[in-house]
């Protein structure tokens, strides 16, 4: 059973006190300009999923606490939570660096953009 920690209200509970919200950091392409969205981009948004064996970046909701959505980094093999962070934030820099496969590709430009001094935006 998973023990989950809410970074918003500080509540801690088991997985039945929280709701899993799937892959994090998905952007709806049509929000910018619906006319330019290709079928492939729409497919990626709706159906393609990062499905890593290892570090995963995902959304959870604090169901029986404050009710807020937040982000978490969890290892899908050991089931350990590595960090939780705010719903508008990026993960801690060292976890972005530790990500592999598709997530590493996703975080690459975010790591390049962020100066080292801005590290650790974790809550």
């Amino acid at each position: 059973m998973l023990i989950v920690h809410c970074p918003v209200c500080g509540a801690e509970g088991d997985e039945t006190d929280f709701h899993y919200g799937g892959e994090a950091h998905i952007r709806r392409p049509a929000t910018q300009d619906p006319t330019t969205v290709s079928d492939a981009a729409q497919r990626d948004y709706l159906f393609m999923r990062r499905n890593p064996k290892g570090l995963h970046f995902e959304r959870w909701r604090c169901d029986r606490g404050c009710g807020k959505w937040f982000h978490a980094v969890r290892d899908t093999v050991t089931m350990d939570f590595k960090a939780t962070y705010g719903i508008t934030e990026l993960p801690p820099r060292e976890l972005m660096e530790a990500a592999s496969g598709e997530w590493a590709a996703f975080f690459k430009d975010k790591l390049d953009a962020a100066k080292p001094s801005r590290k650790g935006k974790s809550s």
């Binding site: 059973m1 997985e15 079928d39 492939a40 497919r43 999923r49 064996k53 899908t76």
Partner: protein
């Protein structure tokens, strides 16, 4: 060619104190090159290899398996076989599979213990009743032998069911497929393995595929823990582990890996001679030939590669079934386990070609792919051999996600099976 199993071979080997049974399959070292390589020796991979060799006369092929054959979801499932899905493409492939099961023991010369004992899907709300009626009409148009039955008939078929009209989810009737049922999961893997092996297929166990090597837009071979194997055609059939493998060829899939659990009780005398599914409350039940009650439910919610599920999911399943079958409330559970299932957005599988030439995938069977093993292997072998989708496989291609042509079975399969 292997010697056939028969009453005479049984008698002959009994005389020899069972010391001379021939091995059911060889354990060959991998060759440096094959005409085609199947990754994953689960039911779907082994069936694919068998039909490639039998129907398409491809003998120089290998099945590469990281653990032991049948040790994935094929050896972990609750063996429900039925074909009464809602959409036409689903009906076609699941009914092809179900009908192949009818004759599979004879075809493979291996008893897969297909037992068409009937599958009953309970209607426990008005909405569920109407939804199944819709499926019943769709299935009747497709010529399936299925029908709606009344609450009285349900009670007659499964007397241990709770028929109290005042309980929270009273039984209003059921959708019944008399020729659905169960089979022996290990035997399906073993039978196909023995069949494929005797047709010359190399089944290489304890050999993990680490990556797919590409030569431009084509596949060149696979890197494995036993070295590089050259091949022009690769069929990846690794259920919950498919994303990580095809990713090495630069391919993404609309799949998430979740844990699905099941459990069995201590053996008891026969109490239930059909499969009962209770989708509204998320549980299903059957009784194995050994007498154990086989219990299953829904997946854990979150991504998982650990093959270990969480307790709340099991508790939810068991709670539902105790309500539906009060007689089982004192039973002790013997074993529980989990398997990593490959879930797609529309709860239908993905079968076919990819953007990489020579790379084929057969995955996304999720919580319900034991029932489809013979049909899936049949059409996937044809797809690989002819490098174009078999007509029954065609609707299940990857392009359906870009075209928005989904095969939505999330309603028909609200619960895992």
């Amino acid at each position: 060619m292997k010697s056939r199993y028969s009453i005479f071979s049984l008698a002959r080997n009994a005389m020899n104190y069972h010391k001379d049974w021939e091995r059911a399959w060889r354990s060959p070292a991998p060759k440096s090159e094959y005409d085609a390589v199947i990754v994953g020796a689960g039911g779907h991979g082994l069936a694919t290899a068998y039909y490639l060799a039998k129907n398409h006369k491809l003998a120089n092929i290998a099945v590469v398996e990281k653990g032991w054959l049948g040790g994935g979801n094929t050896g972990r499932n609750t063996t429900i076989i039925r074909s009464n899905y809602l959409q036409d493409p689903s009906i076609a492939i699941y009914e092809l599979a179900r009908s192949l099961y009818e004759d599979l023991s004879r075809d493979l010369n291996f008893n897969v213990m297909f037992s068409p004992r009937g599958v009953m899907m309970l209607c426990q709300t008005e909405h569920e009743f109407r939804a199944f009626k819709r499926t019943a009409h769709a299935n009747r148009l497709a010529g399936l032998d299925c029908r709606m039955i009344s609450a009285e008939e349900v009670k007659k078929i499964a007397p241990i069911i709770n028929d109290d009209p005042n309980c929270r989810y009273p039984i209003l009737g059921a959708y019944y497929q008399p020729r659905g049922g169960t089979g022996r999961h290990d035997a399906v893997a073993w039978g196909y393995a023995r069949g494929a092996d005797s047709l010359g297929v190399d089944i290489i166990q304890n050999c993990e595929v680490l990556s797919i090597r590409r030569d431009g837009g084509k596949v060149a071979g696979i890197e494995t823990s036993k070295g590089f194997i050259k091949t022009k055609k690769i069929g990846v059939v690794t259920a919950g582990h498919v994303s990580t493998i095809v990713q090495t060829a630069g391919l993404r899939l609309p799949i998430e890996s979740l844990c699905l659990q099941a459990l069995v009780s201590e053996p008891i005398k026969p109490v239930l001679d059909c499969v009962v599914m209770a989708n509204t409350v998320h549980g299903y039940l059957s009784q194995s030939d050994k007498g154990e009650l086989v219990v299953g439910g829904g997946t854990d919610p979150y991504n998982n590669y650990s093959q270990r599920g969480s307790f709340p999911a099991l508790e939810h399943t068991v709670t539902a079934l105790v309500e539906t079958f009060p007689i089982i409330s004192r039973l002790r559970m013997l074993r529980m386990w989990g398997g990593i299932v490959d879930m797609t957005g529309d709860r239908s599988p993905i079968i076919g070609k990819t953007d990489v030439e020579g790379l084929y995938v057969n995955c996304g069977w999720g919580t319900g792919g034991f029932k489809s093993i013979p049909g899936s292997g049949f059409v996937f072998a044809d797809t690989i051999a002819n490098d174009r989708p078999h007509p029954i496989a065609e609707p299940f291609g990857l392009n359906r996600f870009i075209e928005g042509r989904l095969i939505d079975e999330s309603v028909a399969a609200a619960v895992a099976h």
